[in-house]
């Protein structure tokens, strides 16, 4: 059993207007078959209108241990949120 089909990650657009979302993965010999298999495995009940597949080995991911250093800079910038600013009610909708 050495000749295992590669692993593909499957992304599906639920309905028009939303972006593709990760649905799961599957094995297939090539991209064409991966899309056909994704149709059978992940859209048996009209879950999607568009399928993307990408070979899992081509995905780069951030390391969980980097969580602190990666996100800390934005955590510290609270002024990026509108609620940081106190605007008097008299000003009206803003």
């Amino acid at each position: 059993m050495k000749n295992e089909w590669p692993l593909w990650e499957v992304f599906i657009r639920g309905k028009h207007g939303t972006s593709h979302r990760h649905f799961g993965s599957l094995h297939a010999p090539d991209a064409e078959m991966a899309i056909k298999n994704a149709r059978d495995v992940y859209t048996r009940r009209n879950e999607g209108v568009s399928i993307w597949v990408v070979e899992a080995e081509h995905i780069s991911a951030s390391a969980p241990s980097d969580k602190g250093p990666l996100y800390e800079p934005s955590n510290a910038k609270v002024y990026r949120h509108p609620s940081f600013f106190d605007i008097p009610d008299d000003v009206g909708a803003m």
């Binding site: 059993m1 295992e4 993965s25 094995h27 010999p29 078959m33 495995v41 009940r45 969980p64």
Partner: protein, 330 residues
């Protein structure tokens, strides 16, 4: 359940003092209801136990297609045939969702397949019983998928992210399975006396094997205690079994069928049914490989795998040829 006897490390649950700092932080995340994702640090035993559990669960979905596949060509109407086909196809999908979840833990699909085919990994005992009549298609959907739902609904909250997400997809599809089974039972129970007798016979044969699906009592099991602390097991086997009986007895009454248990009675005070335990020696025997269909099921899986080898290899060769041609053209 679909993973009835998952052997963990056999060690009892560690107290916070016995844990390393990493283990303590890990347990704290689980206690806080956080999901563990594949690349996060996890104790080796958590990983090993999960691979066994999710692997058994996946194998059960796949082998579970065989008893129902047995009736696809002989379904009584074209509509029933299409419904059964869709149901069995769903089970194949469930197997695939689960294999993918297991693979995120670092085991390969072929490795899992090989362990099933060689008999080193188990699948649920229920699928080693034969499906003798069409009424069995009703009883399997009603009881077997019913028991599966009872187990899988709480597992949606399991601590391992990929397993939890697979369970959410599975649960969305299961209710169709149980309903189509009960629908068959209603037709047969309200049919001719011979049809009703066939429905009763299916219930008689599948009742105790269905109760076995929840696994032996885990009151004193070390495996269960650790799995519960890790939230990869949510309810006790006995608790789920009781819930199943409480839900199913009134459904049998509605059909006008009798649960094959002389000791069955409703305890007015607790609101729960008292019932007889299945024969646990039979259960152990089936797990050991001596059930009525163990050999047949494993032979069928091995044959499917071996007969499909030329297709798998051929498609890989074709993909390699196409990729080479593309590079040459560039």
């Amino acid at each position: 359940m679909y993973a009835q006897v998952v052997e963990s490390t056999g060690k009892s649950v560690k107290s916070p003092e016995e844990m390393s700092e990493k283990e303590r932080a890990f347990q704290a995340r689980i206690d806080a209801g956080e999901k563990i994702e594949p690349k996060d640090w996890m104790p080796d035993d958590y990983r090993k136990t999960l691979i066994r559990q999710i692997g058994q669960h996946a194998h059960s979905e796949v082998v579970g297609q065989l008893p129902e596949g047995n009736w696809i060509t002989r379904a009584p109407t074209l509509e029933r045939k299409a419904i059964l086909l869709a149901k069995v196809q769903d089970e194949a999908g469930h197997g695939l969702y689960l294999y993918c979840a297991a693979e995120t833990l670092g085991v390969s699909r072929d490795d899992l397949t090989e362990q099933l085919l060689s008999g080193r990994m188990k699948y649920s005992s229920i699928f080693n019983y034969p499906t003798l009549t069409w009424a069995d298609m009703g009883a399997v959907g009603w009881l077997v998928d019913g028991a599966a739902i009872m187990n899988q609904v709480p597992l949606q909250r399991t601590s391992f992210g990929p397993y939890s997400r697979a369970m959410i997809r599975v649960c969305k599809e299961e209710s169709f399975h149980q309903r189509q089974g009960y629908d068959i039972m209603m037709k047969m129970a309200n049919g001719t006396p011979a049809q009703k007798a066939m429905a009763q016979d299916a219930l008689n044969r599948l009742w105790y094997p269905s109760l076995m699906m929840f696994g032996p009592s885990d009151k004193n099991s070390v495996h269960s205690a650790q799995s519960m602390a890790w939230k990869i097991k949510i309810d006790s086997n006995d608790g789920l079994r009781q819930r199943f009986v409480d839900q199913t007895v009134p459904q049998a009454e509605y059909l006008g069928l009798t649960i094959p248990d002389d000791n069955l009675r409703l305890d007015e005070e607790t609101g729960h049914y008292e019932f007889s335990q299945p024969d646990w020696s039979e259960f152990n025997d089936v797990l050991r490989g001596n059930g009525p269909c163990n050999t047949e099921r494993l032979n069928a899986r091995n044959k499917a795998w071996n007969d499909g080898a030329w297709v798998r290899d051929g498609l890989m060769a074709h993909a390699a040829k196409k990729a080479a041609a593309k590079i040459a053209a560039e």
